[in-house]
Amino acid sequence: MASQLLPLELIDKCVGSKIWVVMKGDKEFTGTLLGFDDYVNMVLEDVTEFDYAGGQTKMPKCLLNGNNVCMLIPGGEGPVATS
């Protein structure tokens, strides 16, 4: 049996580093992942919120509800670095 990495173990490896969170719908967030729980509720630091219109909102710290999370990208720079 090859050892496999469970999805939540992958996220656990991201604690302390930058992460890009893509929500259901149009919203995206980037920030430093401080922690998370089994529902993938996440505590983020130095957060940037991107709305679909291209607007950005900065927050020092936030708890993101896991309910509408779609995809997590470790080390992601957010929708800005698409070049």
Partner: protein, 78 residues
């Protein structure tokens, strides 16, 4: 829902650390509430004190106290 290897900064610890502090709560609808965080529960239901409601960034109303049902919450920001 207790934590894995990490220790202090999981969601539950974050919430207890910001009780009593001024917070911003954004709902999935885009409506924003600003106020003092009285309490939160496991559903992310929230009680806010001195709560102001913003729609499209503009102040709409003020509430002395407000209970926000957790399923509408997108994030809580310190």
């Amino acid at each position: 829902m207790e934590n894995h290897s990490s220790d202090s900064r999981d969601p539950a610890a974050f919430l207890s650390s910001i009780i009593g502090a001024p917070v911003t709560v954004k709902l999935n609808s885009g409506v924003v509430y600003k106020g003092e965080l009285q309490s939160v529960d496991g559903y992310m239901n929230i009680a806010l004190e001195k709560c102001a409601e913003y729609v499209n960034g503009q102040l709409r109303r003020n509430y002395g106290d407000a209970f926000v049902r957790g399923n509408n919450v997108l994030y809580i920001s310190a």
